[in-house]
């Protein structure tokens, strides 16, 4: 079912490949390659307007930037698990030099295939296991979540903010906490109500969750699911909303305050170039605002100028590293201090988040 789609930068490509191939075979491949094949494995359809979409935009960017130096292929809607291994192996066997596997569940399949193809470089998104030829990368989306939380805290009138969440895993909990941290920093009376829909993607269910939250007095909504249904519902009901993954303003120009967005372009371009220049190394990248991998979408004009300025100032501070999202004091739901003043959570803590910060309403379900 998963078909391989190949895009080339140039129509003259086939001729050039032929020439390159002839030259290469003559000179033995010692120097840097002048053409790389890059493969991408996506968990969803490229048209999901969310996670997969953001990866595919970066793939297109690489093609734009490097032209006929790069040939990219992608396989979309690849289920996590056994099928993923087959797809990844297939890409490796077809002569790809660099393969991006873009979902958490591809971690073990990626490592397995990488063992058998030591010459191929692999980059796995959101995972924590590396090997000789497998690097990992991830976005500090929680930084953007925090900034959007500041917006939400300032824009709510009912002091109830709704959060439609998918599954209680650390990544999602981290987002909720960072968002709530932002909300409470500017509005200590506001609370964040979380509703779990147990799916990454079901527009109708996401809508119903949004309606439920609105019924329970939420007037600013956000979501950690993949569709734009929450934004749309807010627009229809005259509430505000904050998108995720990509700029979702098209779904509600009045409701959409901003979105927390991913921009994988810097990583994909740098890694592809590294393979081109033959200086690829395995890394564990966790890039954020500073590197431009995490960002917020343009702020809606409904947001007062002083709030906009405050948010942008915080963004600059995050970028400069003068503040961090989870700088103490951070309290948990019971009000107990988890991070003391002057301290902050380290990356290990962040990757294993299993508790709610103060200001989140409801109990954290066991995952």
């Amino acid at each position: 079912m998963n078909t391989l789609k190949t895009t080339t930068g140039n129509k003259m490509k086939s001729l050039k490949t032929l020439v390159t191939a002839l030259t290469l075979s003559a000179t033995v491949m010692a120097q840097a390659a002048d053409n790389v094949k890059v493969g991408f494995v996506y968990v969803g359809p490229t048209g999901d307007a969310g996670w997969t979409y953001s990866h595919d935009e970066a793939r297109k960017y690489v093609v734009d930037q490097l032209g006929d130096k790069v040939e990219t292929s992608y396989v979309e809607s690849v289920a996590e698990g056994a099928d993923a291994e087959r797809v990844i192996r297939n890409l490796a066997a077809k002569g790809h030099d660099l393969i991006f596997t873009t979902s958490f569940g591809y971690m073990n399949p990626t490592l397995k295939v990488a063992k058998r193809f030591p010459k191929v470089k692999f980059e796995h998104a959101t995972g924590y296991k590396q090997s000789k030829n497998v690097g990992t990368y991830m976005a500090r989306a929680y930084q953007a979540r925090y900034l959007t939380g500041l917006v939400a805290g300032k824009m709510t009138k009912s002091n109830v903010i709704g959060y439609v969440a998918s599954f209680p895993i650390p990544e999602v909990i981290r987002g909720i906490n960072a968002f709530t941290k932002g909300v409470r920093e500017v509005n200590p009376d506001a609370t964040v109500k979380v509703v779990w829909v147990s799916t990454w993607y079901d527009p109708a269910k996401e809508r119903e969750a949004a309606e439920t939250l609105i019924l329970q007095k939420a007037d600013v909504l956000t979501q950690h699911t993949d569709s734009a249904a929450v934004i749309q519902t807010a627009e229809a009901k005259g509430k505000y909303a904050i998108g995720y993954h990509s700029d979702m303003s098209a779904y509600g120009s009045t409701a959409h305050l901003t979105s927390a967005v991913h921009d994988w372009r810097p990583i994909y371009l740098a890694k592809t170039k590294a393979v081109l220049n033959d200086n690829w190394t395995k890394e564990d990248l966790w890039y954020g605002i500073k590197e431009g991998v995490t960002d917020i979408a343009p702020l809606n004009d409904a947001i007062p100028a002083d709030v906009k300025a405050m948010v942008l100032a915080k963004k600059a501070a995050l970028k400069a590293g003068t503040i961090r999202v989870f700088d103490g004091p951070v309290k948990d739901q019971s009000g107990a201090i988890k991070v003391k003043k002057g301290a902050s959570l380290n990356d290990g803590d962040l990757k294993g988040f299993g508790w709610y910060v103060e200001g989140v309403e409801g109990k954290l379900p066991k995952s």
């Binding site: 509703v195 439920t212 066991k366």
Partner: protein, 308 residues
């Protein structure tokens, strides 16, 4: 819980149940004639994408709904041609239709992702909508929900007291006997399949034009499968389909509302239930013995080859 909250939950329940009712009623008619069409999910997506594309290009929601129905019909004709005329295996053909519909809809809709439209809005029915509670729950919905009430009435009547209903059942129970009685088995099955396609196409249109007015790949998120299970659970009775769909709707809404109210629920467990039910049903349907017990149409899934 106060009365307002309950009214609101029930209001959302009707909306949630509607796509299931449409698909399940259509599939019920189809199955009554002895044809099992597992392609619901594919037809649903095709209805959704075509309806949405039509809404964007023509700007008319009415035309959009009509074209969603046409898309469902075309898909069902393809299924009918393969499974009735060419006597292919219905299960395999239905599954192929689902895969085909999912792929084709993604292909057609790729440039419509991220496009916003104004969807079909709720429209209160004068007088009826003023009845306390009931009015809010049933008569302040959008026009397609009202259409689902009418279509329910139609299907109910067909099997309760019409000649057509008898013919469809005869064909579904024993096509040879029906043929001997002068009923054109293929014609009846084709019409039933087309009706099913139209209903599912309409349900697709409901998803992309009224429920969540957007197009995104795979947006039906398994509703076609749930509707298939619903038909069996309802033992091929329209009134039970209606009830079952609303029950399912109420469950999924409650699951969300409870969380907002601070109750502890295991979200993933609840979310799993409809799918477990679907699997159980598909397993049950694969045995003849269980078919009788469930009062399934006797020739369900059995292709009919006319004696020449």
């Amino acid at each position: 819980m106060d009365i307002d909250l309950i009214t609101n939950i029930l209001y959302a329940t009707v909306r949630t149940g509607t796509p299931l009712i449409l698909v399940a009623l259509g599939e019920m008619v189809c199955e009554k004639s002895g044809v099992l069409n597992l392609g619901q999910e594919g037809m649903l997506l095709m209805g959704a994408v075509v309806g949405f594309m039509a809404a964007v290009t023509t700007g008319s929601l009415f035309v959009a709904v009509l074209l969603a129905i046409v898309a469902g019909i075309l898909m069902s004709l393809l299924f009918g041609f393969l499974s009735i005329t060419l006597v292919s295996n219905q299960v395999a053909t239905g599954l192929a239709l689902t895969i085909f519909g999912a792929g084709l809809s993604a292909f057609l809709g790729s440039s419509y992702v991220g496009v916003g439209i104004t969807g079909i809005e709720p429209m209160s029915i004068p007088l009826l909508s003023e009845i306390p509670i009931i009015g809010k729950i049933f008569f302040q919905q959008d026009p397609l929900v009202y259409l689902s009430f009418i279509l329910f009435g139609l299907v109910f009547w067909i099997f309760k007291s019409s000649q057509i209903g008898l013919k469809i059942r005869a064909v579904g129970e024993n096509p040879e006997a029906a043929n001997a009685m002068g009923i054109n088995v293929h014609k009846v099955r084709y019409l039933a399949v087309i009706f099913g396609g139209a209903m599912t196409g309409l349900a697709g249109g409901y998803l992309s034009l009224a429920y969540t007015p957007l197009w995104a790949e795979g947006m039906s998120a398994g509703r076609g499968w749930i509707a298939l299970a619903l038909v069996v659970f309802a033992s091929w009775k329209a009134e039970r389909i209606m009830l079952g769909a609303y029950l399912f709707g109420a469950f999924s809404i409650m699951h969300l509302v409870m969380q907002g109210l601070g109750f502890e629920v295991a979200p993933n467990l609840l979310a799993m239930l409809p799918y477990i039910a679907t699997i159980v049903v598909l397993v049950l349907l694969s045995s003849d013995h269980m078919k009788t017990k469930l009062s399934a149409p006797m020739s369900l899934g059995v292709p009919y080859r006319p004696q020449v």
